[in-house]
């Protein structure tokens, strides 16, 4: 390998990149847009559940119950329907997720010490949110009931779980999503960026002049890789800064370790894109293959959206072949848990294998001979 030739390739590729608005957009705007879009759009948290209340009791006690719902912070009472018939429409038009119906007998029954049932209607078409709303409502009802029963006296259960949530104390899904998102975005962008680079040379005919020079294919592949690795590192840095400043995600681990593992991941992912590019020699086809092979696996099989441990065994096995899986573990581990090499060496090893295989494929599939 000759450093002069490698440098000449890298420099040329960087100049071409700088002059190509399409590549620049893909390198800088797309990751920023994806980060903002996913960062804001994806949330598993259920707060401010929109709720309607039909208070047929209209008493001090019923207003107390409504207040308990309001002050919990989980429910937002947006509608007060006048009649029971209106409730149907509110749910059908999805104006509210839940409806609390307090019957006229509520105040009388409580005063008399009888069972005083209320009705909670939930929109089950969003099963996930409905389940969470149901749990919140049940907790509020238990609290309200115990206040009624004990009238302010302290009430202690003999055996209780003292729950502490580690790593993401407030259980905010954003803390979990943003670090994983960095990994997913880089998986998608990296292969797309390089998928064009070798195919473009074949399509434009510039490969012929390049192939007639003494440049070695190793120098072509690595030289082309250099500017893209720079862009990839810049994107990751941008995503980290955005995660810290915009989304308030904690970064607890070592940033150098994160950089090192990111570098390995980028080499693998960028080489993979170049391999596709060299193998199919068509920009359109290569970028389509790059999206197909990275987008869905990175989102669905990396552990970013769905927990791998709850997948069917066959699918779990497949995830071992998805490089994003390891990188998602790395970003989550370093951001949230602050773990170091003692835990992440497995992922590190996987990244080294990925980078080696990617580079080998890219170099091998690159032919300097014409057909």
């Amino acid at each position: 390998m000759n450093p002069g030739r490698l440098w000449a390739m890298a420099r040329k590729e960087a100049i071409q990149l700088r002059r190509d608005p399409r590549s620049l957009g893909m390198a800088f705007l797309l990751p920023a847009a994806l980060l903002l879009f996913f960062g804001y759009a994806i949330s598993y948290d259920v707060n401010n559940i929109e709720m309607a209340v039909l208070d047929e009791s209209n008493s001090e006690r019923s207003r107390g119950l409504i207040h308990a719902f309001e002050s919990s912070g989980y429910f937002d009472i947006v509608e007060y329907p006048a009649r029971y018939e209106d409730v149907d429409e509110l749910l059908q038009r999805a104006k509210v997720l839940a409806v609390l119906v307090i019957p006229p007998s509520f105040d009388r029954d409580l005063a008399a010490g009888r069972d005083a049932p209320v009705q909670l209607l939930l929109d089950g078409s969003d099963a996930n949110s409905a389940t969470i709303a149901q749990n919140y409502a049940a907790a509020i009802m238990i609290r309200y009931s115990s206040d009624v029963l004990l009238r302010g006296r302290r009430f202690v259960l003999p055996a209780q779980a003292e729950t502490r949530v580690w790593y993401n104390e407030t259980l905010e899904s954003r803390n979990m999503i943003v670090p994983g998102l960095v990994a997913v975005i880089m998986s998608i962008i990296a292969a797309m960026l390089t998928a064009l680079t070798i195919a473009r040379e074949w399509e434009r005919g510039t490969m012929e002049q390049l192939a007639a020079t003494p440049v070695h294919r190793l120098e072509v592949v690595i030289g082309k890789l250099v500017p893209y690795v720079g862009i990839g590192l810049f994107d990751v840095a941008l995503a980290i800064v955005a995660g810290l400043l915009i989304f308030g995600v904690p970064l607890r681990g070592n940033i150098l370790l994160l950089t090192g593992l990111t570098l390995l991941f980028l080499i693998g992912a960028l080489s993979f894109g170049m391999f596709i590019s060299a193998a199919v020699k068509s920009q359109v086809l290569a970028s389509q293959i790059a999206i197909q092979t990275t987008y869905l696996p990175a989102i669905l099989l990396s552990g970013f959206m769905f927990s791998i441990s709850t997948m069917p065994i066959a699918l779990q096995v497949v995830t071992y072949a998805v490089p994003a899986r390891y990188y998602v573990s790395v970003t989550k581990g370093i951001f949230l848990k602050g773990v170091g090499p003692e835990v992440l060496w497995v992922q590190g090893l996987a990244m080294i294998i990925f980078a080696t295989v990617g580079l080998t494929l890219a170099i091998r599939s690159f032919r300097k001979e014409l057909e």
Partner: protein
């Protein structure tokens, strides 16, 4: 005299199609060697095999003393190549293209400065150095491609139809540059389908349908034509060609604009017969006269002699 290129039984097949069929020839050091023939004759395929871009199916070739199969890296360092289609980077400036190819050929430091200046001056691109290459006129692009091919002062320069598509004056200027390289000792291997360009070469190989059908100095090739050639000037050239093709005593007919060249068995007989045949077919003509063979006629004659038809 040492041989810059030695080719022996070189063959390339694409599936069932034999693009180059057992071709053998030598190119002497320092000469301008022309490759003449129509499109599809196998010129480009041969050049691609000699520059390491295409693997021969069989046969051997040595370029600048190195084997194109076993020492391809050494071959590539010793040669310059300018492809048929412009293939420098259109989104790099003139200077950036020069710097790129200098880097790839290991031209560095003082030598880079010297060669860069020399190329800019030779190609008359001094004032264009910061222009994007894609925006230059074709003639400028071709001079830049030539410049990039000679940055590293190669022993053998391969030019594959370097002047296709440019105007005659640019073509003439380009040939002045080629002469300059040859005078400096560079061996120039150039293919063309412009017959008049072949006259500028020291020796030419005439190629048709994958084979070399003649190889000599342009003058000797013309002298070797034994058959007389008659030129018929007529407004009906295309139809006159059709009529004469089947006429007795006419070996080959070729059209050159308003003129029709007929290669005939016997000049006197043909000069008498052709006007009769044309009159019978109802076509008029302006003149009929014997001419000195041009390289086009040489080409037609050799194709005829090799028993073939013209490819393309």
């Amino acid at each position: 005299m040492a041989e810059a290129v030695q080719v022996s039984q070189l063959t390339r097949r694409f599936g069932d199609f034999t693009a180059v069929d057992r071709v053998s020839f030598d190119v002497h050091e320092g000469e301008i060697f022309g490759f003449l023939g129509p499109n599809g004759a196998g010129k480009t395929t041969t050049i691609k095999m000699l520059t390491g871009l295409l693997r021969p199916t069989s046969g051997d070739a040595r370029v600048a003393g190195f084997d194109v199969l076993k020492q391809i890296d050494k071959v590539k360092r010793s040669i310059g190549y300018m492809s048929q289609l412009f293939s420098l980077y259109p989104d790099l400036t003139v200077l950036e293209n020069i710097q790129l190819f200098a880097g790839l050929y290991g031209v560095e430091g003082d030598r880079l400065d010297r060669r860069k200046d020399w190329v800019l001056e030779m190609a008359r691109l001094d004032e264009y150095q910061d222009r994007l290459t894609g925006e230059l006129p074709l003639g400028h692009k071709q001079r830049l491609a030539l410049g990039c091919a000679v940055l590293h002062e190669p022993l053998v320069l391969f030019l594959d139809e370097p002047t296709s598509g440019v105007d005659p004056i640019s073509r003439r200027n380009f040939w002045d540059l080629i002469y300059g390289f040859a005078e400096d000792g560079t061996t120039v291997f150039v293919s063309t389908h412009y017959m008049e360009e072949a006259e500028y070469c020291h020796r030419i190989a005439v190629m048709n349908r994958g084979s070399i059908i003649a190889l000599d100095q342009p003058g000797s090739l013309k002298d070797a034509i034994r058959e007389p050639i008659l030129e018929v000037t007529t407004a009906d050239a295309p139809r006159v060609v059709e009529v004469l093709r089947d006429a007795p005593g006419v070996l080959e007919v070729t059209m050159f604009g308003r003129a029709v060249h007929a290669m005939v068995e016997d000049q006197a007989v043909a000069e008498r017969q052709i006007p009769e045949i044309l009159a019978a077919a109802g076509y008029s003509f302006e003149s009929i006269r014997p001419i000195e063979p041009s390289l086009e006629d040489v080409f037609v004659s050799f194709v005829h002699r090799s028993g073939g038809t013209v490819a393309g």
